[in-house]
């Protein structure tokens, strides 16, 4: 790794990863490698154990009693597609917000033509969602409420526990997109009344790309159709998909080496403790928010309050496009960030930054105070030269 490089794009994919993640993945590829559990020989069983351990540690992280209710997918997007396409039928009503990522909006929009009615609850220009506004839109045919836990553009947190209680009261299925919070913010499926929790493995859980999943609360599987069907290593005599978990939703050979890495990443988080990680992240975010606002020509978006958001900060410099700023950061300062719309056009419309977008920076576990200092100095220099 280039020591001078400053990686501030952890909201897209975290990097670097803890050493254990690299070691575990290499060990799996060299010494285990087989198809998990299908064949019954010792390497196959060992590969199966690796995948099972990953389920167990994810279940522990989100307070899910039964590890077999952790369904692995290739990313949070697949988990969200499984939810939307698996739950909604023609005539159903679904509630979401104006701060969502396209991983929610596109699967929903695709169902509009098939008679699914969508309500997008308005969020404030800082990204805040009022739970009462969600409650007000529930009607008799409302089947699903699907919301992100934190915005991928500005990091603003959604009060999921309050909304979960409302959903439970009205007997509506509640799905949370935890792509930006899983690993960084405590999530308790039971306390928050979450029915379906979609998570990304390669962001704050420190797994490799190609890992993610969906936690399915008890009973939800009765109304959730699978997205894909195929071989599961179980019920091989039948040409029909099994109804038990996780096999109902997991067909074909899984990303075993990826899941080995994901388990190592989650173990790392649990060994540190989310309660200990969160203050560090909040401090880095506070410093960025407080100092970047003092730089002339810089406009900050979002809550402006590190306690109400994850470590994702969006801003613009007057006179420069977000992509110009990102290019200068990369080429002149070795700083990696993400410009543009971050796959969330509706969120940018809510923030008033559509269609030009913002410069998004997202520090991570390995980001130092020094890195942030260098970044802020770079922004001051870039802004001073902007016309």
């Amino acid at each position: 790794m280039d020591n001078n490089l400053i990686y501030l794009d952890n909201a897209a994919t975290s990097w670097p990863k803890p050493e254990e993640v690299y070691r575990t993945m290499e060990n799996f590829m060299r010494h285990i490698g087989a198809n998990p559990g299908r064949s019954g020989h010792r390497l196959s069983i060992e590969a199966g154990r690796v995948v099972y351990e990953a389920r167990e540690i994810i279940a522990q992280l989100f307070n899910l009693d039964d590890p077999l209710r952790v369904i692995f997918t290739k990313n949070a997007t697949e988990a969200l597609n499984l939810t939307v396409r698996g739950i909604l039928r023609p005539g159903d009503h679904v509630i979401t917000s104006t701060m969502e990522h396209n991983s929610v909006m596109r699967p929903l929009r695709a169902l509009e033509d098939q008679g699914v009615e969508i309500t997008t609850v308005n969020c404030s220009a800082e990204g805040f969602l009022d739970p009462q506004d969600v409650g007000k839109t529930i009607k008799s045919k409302t089947r699903l409420i699907i919301l992100n836990h934190a915005s991928n553009v500005v990091g603003t947190l959604v009060p999921v526990a309050e909304i979960g209680a409302i959903a439970r009261r009205h007997n509506v299925i509640f799905c949370v997109d935890a792509a930006q919070t899983a690993g960084a913010f405590p999530i308790d499926i039971k306390v928050m009344n979450i029915d379906l929790l979609a998570f990304s493995g390669h962001k704050l859980l420190f797994g490799p790309p190609g890992t993610g999943g969906l936690c399915v609360a008890k009973g939800v599987e009765d109304v959730l159709k699978p997205l894909m069907r195929g071989g599961t290593g179980s019920r091989s005599e039948s040409e029909h998909q099994p109804s038990f978990l996780p096999d109902k939703y997991e067909s074909g050979t899984p990303n075993t080496v990826g899941l080995a890495g994901l388990a190592a990443g989650v173990k790392f988080i649990l060994s540190q403790g989310i309660a200990n990680l969160r203050p560090r992240e909040e401090n880095l975010t506070r410093r960025i928010i407080e100092e970047i606002q003092t730089i002339p020509k810089v406009t900050l978006y979002g809550s402006g309050d590190p306690r109400q958001q994850v470590a994702v900060v969006s801003f613009n410099i007057a006179g420069l496009s977000s992509s110009e700023v990102a290019l200068q950061l990369d080429e002149d300062y070795n700083i990696m960030c993400r410009p543009g719309l971050q796959c969330a056009p509706l969120a940018h419309k809510t923030l008033g930054t559509f269609p030009l977008g913002t410069v998004r920076i997202s520090p991570g576990y390995f980001t130092t105070e020094d890195n942030i200092k260098t970044f802020l100095e770079a922004i001051a220099k870039i802004a001073s030269k902007a016309k």
């Binding site: 559990g37 019954g40 020989h41 069983i45 154990r49 995948v51 099972y52 019920r235 096999d247």
Partner: protein, 80 residues
């Protein structure tokens, strides 16, 4: 002798719906120090291509207790 059975011993197998279920059972039984072995599902019992848990018949009540207490669904327990 198949599946490394010791001739004087009497075995049973617990069959699970999924490989993940069998592996969950493995962890639960290990934690309770129950003696068992994971083996491929015998063809005469099921056409599944997965694995099952083999144990001595005298351990049956302990095996059942562990599985029931954890709410792990099993397909059944049968003599080997």
């Amino acid at each position: 002798m198949s599946f490394n059975e010791e001739p004087e011993k009497n075995y049973r197998v617990a069959l699970f719906y999924s490989v993940s279920g069998a592996l969950r059972a493995e962890k639960l039984l290990k934690a309770e120090n129950v003696a068992f072995k994971l083996i491929p599902v015998p063809r005469h019992l099921s056409s599944d291509c997965g694995i099952c848990v083999r144990f001595e018949t005298k351990e049956e009540s302990r095996v059942k207790k562990v599985l029931i207490e954890s709410n792990l669904d099993i397909q059944g327990i049968c003599p080997l």
